[in-house]
Protein backbone atom coordinates (compact mmCIF):
# COMPACT_ATOMS: atom_id res chain seq x y z
CA UNK A 1 0.00 0.00 0.00
CA UNK A 2 2.67 2.48 0.93
CA UNK A 3 4.42 3.02 -2.37
CA UNK A 4 7.48 4.68 -0.99
CA UNK A 5 10.48 2.57 -0.03
CA UNK A 6 11.29 2.21 3.66
CA UNK A 7 14.09 4.71 3.79
CA UNK A 8 11.91 7.44 2.32
CA UNK A 9 9.14 6.74 4.81
CA UNK A 10 11.71 6.86 7.56
CA UNK A 11 12.86 10.22 6.30
CA UNK A 12 9.26 11.48 6.20
CA UNK A 13 8.60 10.29 9.73
CA UNK A 14 11.88 11.70 10.93
CA UNK A 15 11.14 15.10 9.49
CA UNK A 16 7.60 15.00 10.73
CA UNK A 17 8.26 13.86 14.25
CA UNK A 18 11.65 15.28 15.08
CA UNK A 19 12.72 18.10 12.85
CA UNK A 20 9.56 19.95 11.98
CA UNK A 21 9.24 22.48 14.74
CA UNK A 22 6.01 24.05 13.51
CA UNK A 23 3.73 21.10 13.15
CA UNK A 24 5.16 18.07 14.89
CA UNK A 25 3.64 14.65 14.51
CA UNK A 26 2.50 13.23 17.83
CA UNK A 27 2.05 9.76 19.23
CA UNK A 28 -1.53 9.88 18.02
CA UNK A 29 -0.46 10.34 14.42
CA UNK A 30 2.02 7.50 14.66
CA UNK A 31 -0.62 5.21 16.13
CA UNK A 32 -3.01 6.14 13.33
CA UNK A 33 -0.30 5.43 10.76
CA UNK A 34 0.31 2.03 12.26
CA UNK A 35 -3.32 1.15 11.59
CA UNK A 36 -3.11 1.90 7.89
CA UNK A 37 -0.94 -0.91 6.57
CA UNK A 38 1.61 -3.46 7.65
CA UNK A 39 4.60 -1.61 6.22
CA UNK A 40 3.67 1.57 8.01
CA UNK A 41 2.93 -0.35 11.16
CA UNK A 42 6.45 -1.70 11.10
CA UNK A 43 7.98 1.63 10.21
CA UNK A 44 6.01 3.72 12.63
CA UNK A 45 6.92 1.45 15.52
CA UNK A 46 10.61 1.99 15.16
CA UNK A 47 12.69 3.11 18.06
CA UNK A 48 14.20 6.25 16.66
CA UNK A 49 10.95 8.20 16.70
CA UNK A 50 9.54 6.79 19.88
CA UNK A 51 12.71 7.47 21.83
CA UNK A 52 12.55 11.07 20.73
CA UNK A 53 8.93 11.19 21.90
CA UNK A 54 9.96 9.67 25.21
CA UNK A 55 12.52 12.39 25.60
CA UNK A 56 10.24 15.25 24.70
CA UNK A 57 7.02 14.14 26.41
CA UNK A 58 8.27 12.31 29.47
CA UNK A 59 11.94 13.33 29.56
CA UNK A 60 13.18 9.78 29.76
CA UNK A 61 16.25 8.89 27.81
CA UNK A 62 16.77 5.27 28.82
CA UNK A 63 14.77 2.48 27.28
CA UNK A 64 13.97 -0.01 29.97
CA UNK A 65 11.54 -2.37 28.27
CA UNK A 66 11.81 -4.13 24.95
CA UNK A 67 11.01 -1.23 22.66
CA UNK A 68 10.73 2.50 22.85
CA UNK A 69 7.10 2.36 21.82
CA UNK A 70 6.11 0.05 24.68
CA UNK A 71 8.08 2.21 27.08
CA UNK A 72 6.19 5.23 25.85
CA UNK A 73 2.94 3.36 26.30
CA UNK A 74 3.87 2.56 29.89
CA UNK A 75 4.72 6.14 30.70
CA UNK A 76 1.56 7.29 29.00
CA UNK A 77 -0.61 4.92 31.03
CA UNK A 78 1.08 5.94 34.26
CA UNK A 79 0.57 9.57 33.43
CA UNK A 80 -3.06 8.93 32.60
CA UNK A 81 -3.62 7.22 35.94
CA UNK A 82 -1.97 10.06 37.79
CA UNK A 83 -4.18 12.54 36.05
CA UNK A 84 -7.28 10.46 36.78
CA UNK A 85 -6.42 10.31 40.47
CA UNK A 86 -5.75 14.02 40.62
CA UNK A 87 -9.09 14.61 38.97
CA UNK A 88 -10.84 12.38 41.50
CA UNK A 89 -9.20 14.21 44.35
CA UNK A 90 -10.27 17.55 42.96
CA UNK A 91 -13.84 16.31 42.56
CA UNK A 92 -13.94 14.99 46.13
CA UNK A 93 -12.59 18.25 47.44
CA UNK A 94 -15.32 20.21 45.67
CA UNK A 95 -18.02 17.78 46.81
CA UNK A 96 -16.96 18.12 50.43
CA UNK A 97 -16.92 21.89 50.16
CA UNK A 98 -20.42 21.75 48.72
CA UNK A 99 -21.53 19.65 51.69
CA UNK A 100 -19.96 22.13 54.08
CA UNK A 101 -21.66 25.08 52.42
CA UNK A 102 -25.05 23.34 52.46
CA UNK A 103 -24.66 22.53 56.14
CA UNK A 104 -23.87 26.14 56.93
CA UNK A 105 -26.80 27.36 54.89
CA UNK A 106 -29.23 25.15 56.79
CA UNK A 107 -27.62 26.12 60.13
CA UNK A 108 -28.03 29.80 59.35
CA UNK A 109 -31.56 29.10 58.24
CA UNK A 110 -32.49 27.56 61.58
CA UNK A 111 -30.81 30.38 63.49
CA UNK A 112 -32.74 32.84 61.39
CA UNK A 113 -35.97 30.98 62.23
CA UNK A 114 -35.29 31.16 65.93
CA UNK A 115 -34.59 34.87 65.79
CA UNK A 116 -37.81 35.45 63.91
CA UNK A 117 -39.71 33.55 66.59
CA UNK A 118 -38.08 35.62 69.29
CA UNK A 119 -38.97 38.77 67.42
CA UNK A 120 -42.57 37.71 67.11
CA UNK A 121 -42.78 36.83 70.82
CA UNK A 122 -41.29 40.17 71.80
CA UNK A 123 -43.66 42.02 69.48
CA UNK A 124 -46.63 40.19 70.98
CA UNK A 125 -45.60 41.03 74.52
CA UNK A 126 -45.00 44.62 73.51
CA UNK A 127 -48.50 44.97 72.10
CA UNK A 128 -49.94 43.46 75.33
CA UNK A 129 -48.00 45.97 77.39
CA UNK A 130 -49.24 48.75 75.19
CA UNK A 131 -52.81 47.66 75.92
CA UNK A 132 -52.03 47.74 79.64
CA UNK A 133 -50.64 51.20 79.35
CA UNK A 134 -53.65 52.41 77.46
CA UNK A 135 -55.87 50.85 80.07
CA UNK A 136 -54.03 52.46 82.97
CA UNK A 137 -54.10 55.84 81.28
CA UNK A 138 -57.76 55.47 80.46
CA UNK A 139 -58.62 54.74 84.09
CA UNK A 140 -57.82 58.37 84.89
CA UNK A 141 -60.70 59.46 82.72
CA UNK A 142 -64.35 58.87 83.34
CA UNK A 143 -65.66 55.81 81.47
CA UNK A 144 -68.70 53.57 81.50
CA UNK A 145 -68.70 50.92 84.31
CA UNK A 146 -68.22 47.89 82.06
CA UNK A 147 -65.29 49.41 80.29
CA UNK A 148 -63.77 50.55 83.57
CA UNK A 149 -64.03 47.06 85.05
CA UNK A 150 -62.40 45.54 82.06
CA UNK A 151 -59.57 48.05 82.17
CA UNK A 152 -59.04 47.48 85.89
CA UNK A 153 -58.77 43.77 85.12
CA UNK A 154 -56.12 44.35 82.48
CA UNK A 155 -54.04 46.60 84.75
CA UNK A 156 -54.24 44.18 87.66
CA UNK A 157 -53.27 41.19 85.55
CA UNK A 158 -50.09 42.83 84.50
CA UNK A 159 -47.45 42.00 87.07
CA UNK A 160 -44.44 43.69 85.64
CA UNK A 161 -43.29 47.25 85.59
CA UNK A 162 -44.72 48.43 82.31
CA UNK A 163 -42.27 51.15 81.53
CA UNK A 164 -39.07 49.27 82.08
CA UNK A 165 -40.39 46.12 80.47
CA UNK A 166 -41.48 48.11 77.42
CA UNK A 167 -38.07 49.67 76.99
CA UNK A 168 -36.39 46.28 77.46
CA UNK A 169 -38.66 44.76 74.86
CA UNK A 170 -38.02 47.61 72.45
CA UNK A 171 -34.31 46.96 72.78
CA UNK A 172 -34.88 43.26 72.22
CA UNK A 173 -36.93 43.89 69.10
CA UNK A 174 -34.17 46.10 67.74
CA UNK A 175 -31.54 43.47 68.45
CA UNK A 176 -33.63 40.73 66.89
CA UNK A 177 -34.07 42.74 63.74
CA UNK A 178 -30.33 43.34 63.53
CA UNK A 179 -29.59 39.67 64.06
CA UNK A 180 -32.12 38.67 61.45
CA UNK A 181 -30.53 41.01 58.93
CA UNK A 182 -27.07 39.64 59.72
CA UNK A 183 -28.18 36.01 59.47
CA UNK A 184 -30.00 36.72 56.27
CA UNK A 185 -26.95 38.28 54.69
CA UNK A 186 -24.71 35.45 55.88
CA UNK A 187 -27.13 32.90 54.51
CA UNK A 188 -27.28 34.64 51.16
CA UNK A 189 -23.48 34.75 50.98
CA UNK A 190 -23.23 31.11 51.90
CA UNK A 191 -25.83 30.22 49.27
CA UNK A 192 -23.89 32.07 46.58
CA UNK A 193 -20.73 30.24 47.63
CA UNK A 194 -22.63 26.97 47.44
CA UNK A 195 -23.82 27.82 43.97
CA UNK A 196 -20.30 28.68 42.86
CA UNK A 197 -19.00 25.37 44.22
CA UNK A 198 -21.76 23.48 42.41
CA UNK A 199 -20.86 25.20 39.14
CA UNK A 200 -17.21 24.40 39.69
CA UNK A 201 -18.08 20.76 40.22
CA UNK A 202 -20.14 20.68 37.03
CA UNK A 203 -17.29 22.15 35.01
CA UNK A 204 -14.71 19.78 36.49
CA UNK A 205 -16.93 16.80 35.82
CA UNK A 206 -17.73 17.82 32.25
CA UNK A 207 -16.15 15.42 29.81
CA UNK A 208 -17.86 15.23 26.42
CA UNK A 209 -15.83 12.24 25.18
CA UNK A 210 -16.58 10.06 28.16
CA UNK A 211 -20.28 10.81 27.99
CA UNK A 212 -20.55 9.93 24.34
CA UNK A 213 -21.38 6.25 24.56
CA UNK A 214 -22.66 5.26 21.12
CA UNK A 215 -20.98 2.10 19.77
CA UNK A 216 -20.44 3.64 16.35
CA UNK A 217 -18.75 6.71 17.77
CA UNK A 218 -15.50 7.70 16.16
CA UNK A 219 -14.55 10.09 18.90
CA UNK A 220 -13.51 7.43 21.38
CA UNK A 221 -9.84 7.25 22.30
CA UNK A 222 -7.30 6.16 19.71
CA UNK A 223 -6.53 3.01 21.66
CA UNK A 224 -10.03 1.69 21.17
CA UNK A 225 -9.95 2.81 17.58
CA UNK A 226 -6.84 0.71 16.97
CA UNK A 227 -8.62 -2.44 18.07
CA UNK A 228 -11.78 -1.97 16.07
CA UNK A 229 -9.96 -0.74 12.99
CA UNK A 230 -7.46 -3.59 13.02
CA UNK A 231 -10.33 -5.98 12.43
CA UNK A 232 -11.63 -3.90 9.53
CA UNK A 233 -8.15 -3.61 8.07
CA UNK A 234 -7.48 -7.33 8.26
CA UNK A 235 -10.61 -8.14 6.28
CA UNK A 236 -9.92 -5.43 3.70
CA UNK A 237 -6.30 -6.62 3.32
CA UNK A 238 -7.55 -10.13 2.71
CA UNK A 239 -9.89 -8.88 0.01
CA UNK A 240 -7.12 -6.92 -1.69
CA UNK A 241 -4.79 -9.87 -1.62
CA UNK A 242 -7.36 -12.16 -3.16
CA UNK A 243 -8.05 -9.56 -5.85
CA UNK A 244 -4.39 -9.13 -6.72
CA UNK A 245 -3.62 -12.82 -7.08
Amino acid sequence: MAVLPDELWRRVLEIGAIENSLNLLTYKDLCSLSITCRTLKRLSGEDFIWSSFLLSDFSQSRIQSSSAKSQYKLCFERDKEKKALAHKRAVLRIVSSIAEHSRRVSELGSKLGKEVERLNAAALELSNLRNVRHASVALNVWQPEIVRDRQKQIVEQCTVNVKSRTSALDMEVKLCKQQIAAFDKARRDEKSRLQAAKEQLASVMYHPLRDYNLPSSSSCSRGDECNSKKKKLKTSNLCKETLNT
Binding site: A2, V3, L8, V12, I15, G16, A17, D29, T36
Partner: protein, 144 residues
Protein backbone atom coordinates in the same frame (compact mmCIF):
# COMPACT_ATOMS: atom_id res chain seq x y z
CA UNK B 1 33.34 22.73 -24.32
CA UNK B 2 30.59 24.63 -22.63
CA UNK B 3 29.02 27.44 -24.62
CA UNK B 4 28.91 30.97 -23.31
CA UNK B 5 25.10 30.83 -23.10
CA UNK B 6 23.00 28.60 -20.86
CA UNK B 7 23.80 24.99 -21.47
CA UNK B 8 20.86 22.59 -21.54
CA UNK B 9 21.12 19.08 -20.24
CA UNK B 10 18.87 16.48 -21.79
CA UNK B 11 16.91 14.09 -19.60
CA UNK B 12 14.77 11.24 -20.77
CA UNK B 13 11.76 10.18 -18.79
CA UNK B 14 10.40 6.64 -18.58
CA UNK B 15 7.79 7.50 -21.18
CA UNK B 16 10.52 8.37 -23.63
CA UNK B 17 10.13 12.11 -23.67
CA UNK B 18 13.27 14.14 -23.71
CA UNK B 19 13.19 17.28 -21.64
CA UNK B 20 15.84 19.87 -21.11
CA UNK B 21 17.08 21.46 -17.98
CA UNK B 22 19.42 24.39 -17.56
CA UNK B 23 22.84 23.61 -16.28
CA UNK B 24 22.53 25.85 -13.25
CA UNK B 25 19.37 24.04 -12.31
CA UNK B 26 20.81 20.65 -13.11
CA UNK B 27 23.67 20.90 -10.65
CA UNK B 28 21.19 20.93 -7.78
CA UNK B 29 20.87 17.24 -8.38
CA UNK B 30 23.89 15.33 -7.18
CA UNK B 31 23.01 12.54 -9.53
CA UNK B 32 23.26 14.79 -12.58
CA UNK B 33 26.29 16.52 -11.18
CA UNK B 34 28.17 13.24 -11.25
CA UNK B 35 27.29 12.84 -14.88
CA UNK B 36 28.39 16.37 -15.69
CA UNK B 37 32.00 15.40 -16.25
CA UNK B 38 30.98 13.03 -19.01
CA UNK B 39 28.53 15.48 -20.49
CA UNK B 40 31.10 18.26 -20.61
CA UNK B 41 33.64 15.99 -22.19
CA UNK B 42 31.31 14.71 -24.87
CA UNK B 43 28.90 17.16 -26.51
CA UNK B 44 26.99 14.36 -28.15
CA UNK B 45 26.29 12.65 -24.84
CA UNK B 46 22.90 10.93 -24.98
CA UNK B 47 20.11 12.17 -22.72
CA UNK B 48 20.32 10.86 -19.20
CA UNK B 49 17.95 7.98 -18.83
CA UNK B 50 15.62 8.32 -15.90
CA UNK B 51 13.38 5.33 -16.20
CA UNK B 52 11.91 5.79 -12.77
CA UNK B 53 10.41 9.17 -13.41
CA UNK B 54 7.52 10.09 -15.68
CA UNK B 55 7.31 13.22 -17.74
CA UNK B 56 4.96 15.19 -15.58
CA UNK B 57 7.07 14.67 -12.49
CA UNK B 58 10.21 15.42 -14.43
CA UNK B 59 8.79 18.69 -15.62
CA UNK B 60 7.94 19.60 -12.08
CA UNK B 61 11.44 18.76 -10.92
CA UNK B 62 12.94 20.88 -13.67
CA UNK B 63 10.67 23.72 -12.71
CA UNK B 64 11.84 23.46 -9.12
CA UNK B 65 15.52 23.30 -9.99
CA UNK B 66 15.44 26.18 -12.38
CA UNK B 67 13.55 28.33 -9.97
CA UNK B 68 15.87 27.54 -7.11
CA UNK B 69 18.91 28.21 -9.24
CA UNK B 70 17.53 31.58 -10.24
CA UNK B 71 16.51 32.75 -6.79
CA UNK B 72 19.21 31.03 -4.81
CA UNK B 73 19.68 33.93 -2.42
CA UNK B 74 16.17 35.18 -2.02
CA UNK B 75 14.72 33.11 0.82
CA UNK B 76 11.27 34.70 0.84
CA UNK B 77 10.70 34.12 -2.86
CA UNK B 78 11.89 30.54 -2.50
CA UNK B 79 9.55 29.93 0.44
CA UNK B 80 6.53 31.22 -1.40
CA UNK B 81 7.45 29.18 -4.46
CA UNK B 82 7.83 26.10 -2.34
CA UNK B 83 4.48 26.59 -0.66
CA UNK B 84 2.72 26.79 -3.99
CA UNK B 85 4.79 24.03 -5.51
CA UNK B 86 3.60 21.31 -3.18
CA UNK B 87 -0.12 21.85 -3.49
CA UNK B 88 -1.42 18.66 -4.98
CA UNK B 89 -4.72 16.86 -5.24
CA UNK B 90 -4.21 13.57 -3.48
CA UNK B 91 -0.86 12.05 -2.72
CA UNK B 92 0.09 10.15 -5.85
CA UNK B 93 2.04 12.96 -7.48
CA UNK B 94 3.63 13.79 -4.15
CA UNK B 95 4.92 10.23 -3.86
CA UNK B 96 6.27 10.38 -7.39
CA UNK B 97 7.98 13.63 -6.63
CA UNK B 98 9.58 12.18 -3.52
CA UNK B 99 10.84 9.26 -5.55
CA UNK B 100 12.24 11.55 -8.19
CA UNK B 101 13.92 13.82 -5.68
CA UNK B 102 15.43 10.81 -3.96
CA UNK B 103 16.70 9.27 -7.18
CA UNK B 104 18.15 12.51 -8.46
CA UNK B 105 19.48 13.29 -5.00
CA UNK B 106 18.04 16.79 -4.80
CA UNK B 107 18.10 17.10 -1.04
CA UNK B 108 16.24 20.38 -0.69
CA UNK B 109 13.36 19.05 -2.77
CA UNK B 110 13.39 15.82 -0.78
CA UNK B 111 13.16 17.70 2.50
CA UNK B 112 10.38 19.86 1.18
CA UNK B 113 8.31 16.98 -0.13
CA UNK B 114 8.85 14.82 2.93
CA UNK B 115 7.82 17.66 5.18
CA UNK B 116 4.70 18.19 3.08
CA UNK B 117 3.83 14.52 3.32
CA UNK B 118 4.29 14.48 7.07
CA UNK B 119 2.09 17.55 7.36
CA UNK B 120 -0.52 15.79 5.30
CA UNK B 121 -0.32 12.84 7.63
CA UNK B 122 -0.83 14.87 10.75
CA UNK B 123 -4.23 14.72 12.33
CA UNK B 124 -5.99 12.24 10.05
CA UNK B 125 -6.96 8.63 10.39
CA UNK B 126 -9.86 7.24 8.39
CA UNK B 127 -9.12 9.61 5.55
CA UNK B 128 -5.53 8.41 5.60
CA UNK B 129 -6.59 4.81 5.17
CA UNK B 130 -8.49 5.71 2.08
CA UNK B 131 -5.85 7.98 0.59
CA UNK B 132 -2.96 5.63 1.06
CA UNK B 133 -4.92 2.72 -0.31
CA UNK B 134 -5.62 4.70 -3.49
CA UNK B 135 -1.94 4.50 -4.33
CA UNK B 136 -1.74 0.77 -4.67
CA UNK B 137 -3.81 0.77 -7.83
CA UNK B 138 -1.76 3.55 -9.35
CA UNK B 139 0.26 3.59 -12.60
CA UNK B 140 2.95 1.36 -11.26
CA UNK B 141 5.19 1.36 -14.33
CA UNK B 142 7.36 4.20 -13.28
CA UNK B 143 7.50 3.34 -9.61
CA UNK B 144 8.88 0.33 -7.86
Amino acid sequence: MSSSGERMIALKSCEGDVVYIKETGAVQSLFIRREMKFIKADPAYPPIDLDMINTATLNKVIDYCNHHAEFANDKAALDSFDAQFVEFDGNTSLFQLIHAAHYLKIYSLMDLTCRTLSQNIKGKSIAKLRRLSENSSDNGECLI
